[in-house]
């Protein structure tokens, strides 16, 4: 009797083991996004995009035969929570890489945790101090503000509009923009004739604009995220200000055109290429990624994919590519990320190196203009 049972047992054991081999545990990737709270306009598209990309990858059979598992936590934009959740991802969930957080403040808070935990972090926030100076385990996909400022100044220099007024919002985004606007001005021969700020919740900026109207300014640059810039656009229209108005990439979504209505016409701003994906020449290296992102996002969520979601798209794809190149551990993924060259993503063409963990050049931004309630590329 025993003789007859043995082969079955053997077979069963073998099957059990081989089943284990085939259904290997999925590779875990952590994500921290501010899905709720004041930064939800960043966190929500980021979470949606990250989930979507991981789903698509798994549907196509995963990476090298292994599925990915995305563990998303909501930080609600709070630095303390971000630190706790990053610790949880590293210690309890044992992820091989972390995507996010959404804001610069949270990212700066999480950096000591990942540096200590030896897990690569790909931040989706823009602050240049995240990767300057370079930290061993920290990368980012959002474009530096300095590149956006450079784009505007380059254009102003070319069109000889060198006396500018700046109007920035008093939050992290505006503060960083203001710093860049002031520090880069000299390099492009720009003179800042007036420098004003407004509060994130202000509903009327006529005072600041009236002051600028009286000066010899040739261009007004406003740095903020919705809804402030839309109010400024409307105020400027009401005051009959003819001075060209420039905005930051913080409003490069259809939402801004909706909010500002007619007042948005003629406004120019630097933007990630995602809003003008279909207008790009076929020769653009990013076109394929951009079209895929826009199409997938429309299909999954029936909404326009924006460049915030794009930061998460880039981050997930960077990790995917690293794993595809044979990196399965946190340390190996870090090394692979650092050697990423010529990855054409949503935010731009990424070239990481040991000296550069931001990876983008000035070609990440195009200058766009609002025409007939849509974006047009400024030549």
């Amino acid at each position: 009797m025993n003789f007859k049972v043995m082969p079955f047992v053997m077979a069963a054991v073998t099957l059990l083991f081989s089943a284990n081999v085939f259904a290997a545990a999925p590779i875990r990737i952590g994500a921290l996004f501010a899905v709720t709270g004041p930064a939800a306009f960043l966190g929500e598209p980021e979470r949606n995009t990250a989930k979507m990309v991981v789903d698509e990858i798994n549907r196509a059979g995963g990476v090298r035969g292994q599925k990915l598992e995305l563990i998303v936590y909501d930080t609600s934009g709070d630095a303390t929570k971000a630190v706790q959740l990053a610790t949880k991802l590293i210690k309890d969930d044992k992820v091989v890489a972390i995507i996010g957080p959404s804001t610069t403040g949270e990212t700066m808070a999480v950096i000591p945790v990942v540096e200590r935990g030896h897990v690569p972090l790909i931040s989706c926030s823009a602050g240049s101090k995240i990767t300057d100076p370079v930290k061993r385990w920290v990368f980012k996909t959002a474009q530096n503000d300095s590149l956006a400022v450079g784009r505007i100044y380059e254009y102003l220099q070319k069109t000889k509009q060198t006396n500018v007024s700046i109007l920035t919002v008093s939050d992290g985004f505006g503060a960083s923009g203001r710093e860049q606007l002031k520090s880069q001005a000299a390099r492009y021969g720009i003179t800042i004739v007036s420098d004003d700020t407004y509060g994130p919740k202000d509903t009327d900026m006529t005072a600041q604009l009236t002051k600028m109207r009286g000066s010899r300014t040739q261009a007004i640059i406003c740095w903020g995220t919705n809804p402030g810039p839309a109010v400024i656009a409307k105020n400027a229209q009401q005051l009959g200000i003819k001075t060209p108005l420039f905005m930051s990439h913080g409003v490069s979504s259809k939402k801004f055109i909706e909010l500002a209505g007619d007042a948005a016409e003629g406004i120019r701003l630097p933007s990630g290429k995602v809003v003008v994906a279909d207008m790009l020449p076929a020769s653009d290296k990013q076109k394929k990624s951009l079209m895929a992102f826009v199409r997938d996002y429309k299909k999954h969520y029936n909404a326009e994919g924006d460049h915030f979601g794009g930061h998460a798209w880039d981050a997930v794809m960077l990790v995917r590519n690293a794993i595809n190149n044979g990196a399965f551990t946190a340390a190996a993924i870090r090394d692979q990320l650092e050697s990423t060259r010529g990855f054409a993503g949503i935010g731009g063409n990424f070239n990481y190196s040991p000296q550069d963990h931001a990876g983008l050049g000035k070609d990440a931004f195009v200058l766009v203009e609002v025409k007939n309630k849509d974006w047009m590329i400024v030549k």
């Binding site: 709070d78 630095a79 303390t80 309890d92 403040g105 008093s170």
Partner: protein, 330 residues
């Protein structure tokens, strides 16, 4: 509401044994959570307990509300942070300096503010908290603005750097236990009795020879000073601070901890802080519904445990055990 006055060495012995028992539990806890993420959460339970005790001294004992305690917490954190980064001061020196500065500031602010009562006091302290928040947010040169202040050093003692969750746990809880012991002693001292007298009737207290006005300001300053120490410890364990951690929401969360735990009970403050810190972790499995469950639970607790957890839990046990009897004051 307030704690009944105990006398006699038996009660004192019981209090002492309770504290020793609690301290032993706290010191042994890391054995069960070795290395895991839970250690990190328990560090925050410690910081929040210290803050809840500080607020409880003011609210539970003296009966004076503050909706701006996150501001004092933040002020301690920022002062420590700025002194140790910009001026490279030793953290052990920065912490008491910050505490004294915040305490003195609160003492000065306390005189005009604590003249107010009820809703007006709530509004004034609320405003205070918001002003502090705006200062943290707008003085870029000092605080780094909304993107925060980084590179704050860890605390060090005799060559040991408190740079891991387990080490931080012992550091934070060492301080928290000391604050607890101090608060317990204060509560059962002459000052504690005077505070409770002010709580029940300011006029009656003054008739009995208590300088109510000065006492209120003193306890306000002490409460701010303890919050500042908690802030410094927070800054040196996180090594990064940003304004979002010290906003109005956190003031409300502290108030909730004190009320849910039990007004005028030091152990209640611990229970409230532990519950409000751990609950979001436990509820995380419920995904998007966690906020609803969280709010619902708090509502049920306030409705059915008006005396807070510290009185509600024993009452619940007695009910379950089928015994009848009055609610014991813990």
């Amino acid at each position: 509401m307030a704690k009944p006055i105990r006398s006699g060495s038996d009660a004192m012995k019981r209090d002492f044994l309770l504290f020793i028992g609690f301290s032993v539990l706290v010191m042994l806890a890391p054995q069960y959570f070795r290395g895991g993420y839970m250690m990190n959460v328990l560090v925050f339970v410690g910081i929040n307990t210290m803050l809840a005790i500080a607020l409880n001294l003011l609210l539970g004992y003296a009966g004076q509300i503050s909706l701006g305690h996150a501001g004092f917490f933040g002020l301690g954190a920022y002062l420590s942070g700025i002194m140790t980064t910009t001026f490279s001061l030793n953290p052990w020196l920065a912490m008491p300096l910050a505490a004294v500065a915040v305490g003195s500031l609160a003492f000065l602010i306390g005189f005009p503010v604590l003249k107010l009562k009820g809703h007006y006091l709530a509004m004034a302290t609320l405003g205070l908290g918001i002003i502090f928040f705006i200062i943290f947010n707008e003085t870029y040169e000092w605080t780094g603005g909304p993107s925060g202040l980084s590179g704050i050093p860890y605390l060090e003692l005799g060559g040991i750097s408190f740079n891991s969750d387990v080490k931080s746990y012992y550091l934070i809880w060492g301080f928290t236990l000391a604050v607890m012991l101090f608060a317990l002693n204060l509560a059962s001292s002459r000052v504690g009795r005077a505070l409770r007298a002010v709580h029940d009737s300011e006029v009656a207290a003054q008739v009995l020879g208590v300088n109510a006005r000065l006492l209120k300001v003193q306890i306000f300053a002490l409460s701010a000073l303890l919050s500042s120490i908690a802030g410094s410890l927070y800054a040196h364990t996180m090594t990064f601070i940003s304004p979002t951690s010290f906003g109005f929401n956190f003031s409300i969360e502290l108030l909730t901890m004190v009320v849910i735990g039990g007004l005028g009970s030091i152990y209640g403050s611990f229970l409230g802080a532990a519950l409000l810190t751990l609950l979001p972790e436990i509820l995380r499995g419920a995904n998007d519904y966690d906020i609803i469950i969280y709010g619902g639970l708090l509502m049920v607790m306030v409705m059915y445990m008006p005396g807070g957890l510290v009185r509600g839990i024993p009452a619940l046990f007695r009910k379950l055990a089928g015994r009848k009897g009055g609610v014991d004051h813990a």
